[in-house]
Symmetry: C4
Subunit: 199 residues, 4 copies
């Protein structure tokens, strides 16, 4: 089992998830603005989910380009990540159709949370499989950005029952954190990583 094979399979699954998600955007019956405007919440959720999946695809790729050996553990940790990502179309549809109601928002956050955890587990599994001088560890350090995303999602889930707009804002914030690499944040992360290494 080469890393290319597992990357290609994961690419396929992510490509399918990102694409069938559009099926949740059900064609409305009317042909007027009313019919269309009812779809706005689900469309916005779709945009967010598309970006999140794009980020995962991107990061997943970088990770596997630094991975040569695929152990059984890596294989299943990867399938575990794909499992959580595969639930994205469902939670996208549910949150969108219910106009960001508390429970669907919390569940959307939970899937993002478990996806984030699964990504972290996969990363650590690969690092452990590479032993000392792990190329991946050298590249990501303790992956503070990944951990920060997990913590933010963990906070967003209960907050959905207080005010779901806060949770939605956190989802967007995490996406922006990966999408628009803020120079200052980037250098902050770099700084932390450097310190960590020199310790």
């Amino acid at each position: 089992m080469t890393s290319e094979r597992i990357a290609a399979f994961s690419d396929g699954v992510i490509a399918i998830i990102i694409t069938i998600m559009v099926l949740e955007l059900k064609v409305p019956h009317g042909a007027d603005l009313n019919a269309l405007s009812g779809l706005l919440p689900i469309f916005l959720t779709y945009v967010l989910s598309f970006i999140v999946l794009g980020i995962y695809w991107n990061n997943h790729h970088h990770m596997f380009s630094l991975t040569d050996r695929i152990t059984g553990g890596v294989l299943w940790a990867n399938l575990h990540l794909l499992f959580w990502l595969s639930l994205m179309p469902f939670v996208t549809g549910w949150m969108g159709e219910n106009h960001f109601a508390p429970l669907p928002t919390a569940l959307y956050g939970a899937v993002l949370l478990f996806s984030g955890i699964a990504y972290y587990i996969l990363e650590q599994t690969i690092i452990r499989s590479q032993g000392a001088n792990s190329k991946l560890e050298a590249a990501v350090g303790t992956d503070r950005k990944g951990l920060a995303s997990v913590v933010l999602y963990a906070v967003a889930v209960p907050l959905a029952f207080v005010n779901q707009l806060i949770s939605d804002a956190i989802f967007v914030l995490v996406a922006l954190m990966w999408l628009v690499p803020d120079r200052r944040i980037e250098s902050l992360f770099d700084e932390m990583q450097r310190k960590e290494r020199s310790t």
Copy 2:
């Protein structure tokens, strides 16, 4: 991240879009001609969308065969294009089910317009990433054909509210422009490109 990888992922997404679009062609309940004829508008839209996606796949391929280096900008410009293309099944279903009503026709045009713009942005992002002596720039010049498509789509969107048949005609015209390379138009474009280069 090699250009092959991103091209394979894009191929996958386009293959899925082009195929799940058929799910919008809902199986009718009756078994007679009446049941079938009600599907004609959606079938025609399906044919058009299939051709449009085929053209994008074709052009996308040529573009990436001239692209060696994938920067973060190129990656996201590509996902941006895939995002708009991923809406094709939805607008195909909506325009088809509503027999080319004004608003669905305008929205169909808008998705084509944004896809065209996204393609142009991707092209320019790659050209910029290649710097001077860009292989892609040498091949497409200012991509007058791409720009002409964008302009035609931009005109078709408001015209849908005047007479949607004009818009539909424009959609078909743009597709034919790419599908059936008219010798005279081709040589006109070549001429323009030559002039531009010699300047």
Copy 3:
């Protein structure tokens, strides 16, 4: 554009068609044998369509393994074939849900007919693009088996309005013709091909 690329894209599209077709097998509401037995016609149609698509995938592969150069004509002839194949889930669902009623059976046959014609056009387009000493022509000759399938489908379409069981039998017959290579038929075809070459 290499032939591998176009073959991989076609593989992807056929893999998706063959798989989403199962979505036409709608989960019934009851949990008893009655609910299940209502699905038998669509299940049988599914089996047939699965085999037909498997045959196309198989033949398509052999064809492209003998194809080096991809011209614009080959590319569009290939998309033309994929277009007709992409309608398989729709006609499978319609024929299955209507228990092989005449019109759905005729339409199923029509899609098979146009797929067969599209395959033949693709074959001829590749052969023409290879000029004299075409490797593909050497392998398939005049492709009598392909032509026979087209003729049989053309006969099956109108016969659906006489007795749809005859049409269904023809669909099964053509599939078996490709699936179970009858020694005598094979040698008959070989014989014809040899004669043709020596002329």
Copy 4:
């Protein structure tokens, strides 16, 4: 036809099956816990099916990495396996929606049974195509684990009409047998394989 090609196609089909299965997890209308809890049986079935398909993908890969020559028989034995796997979304939806009722449970088991048989047939077809010194035979021996799975599924199907929980337990047991390689069972299988070889 190289083994890579057939493996890539199979990967694609399995990736699509594993992903469209989520479409059976229909977005509920309400936004409360009630709406969500009704989905629990289908979610649990989804998890099980995801794991089963992950195991098949994994084993399929190992098998084809030991396969060089693809005969017509191997190709069709592989499509036969993919056919049964393609029914997974349907039986997952049916068993899940009916809260593990007897008949849907039996049908789920039947699809697992036929998938297991199809896998075994594929394995034997490849081994036969490799003749003496078959690499695959050397690796799997008589594949007692595969045969044990088939026997267990064959037992689970009729037991669904006695008490479906027993069947469900067997499905989980077989998955665990592949997922969590128990040292003792593994060494037991190894022992058996060694004995068999020395005979």
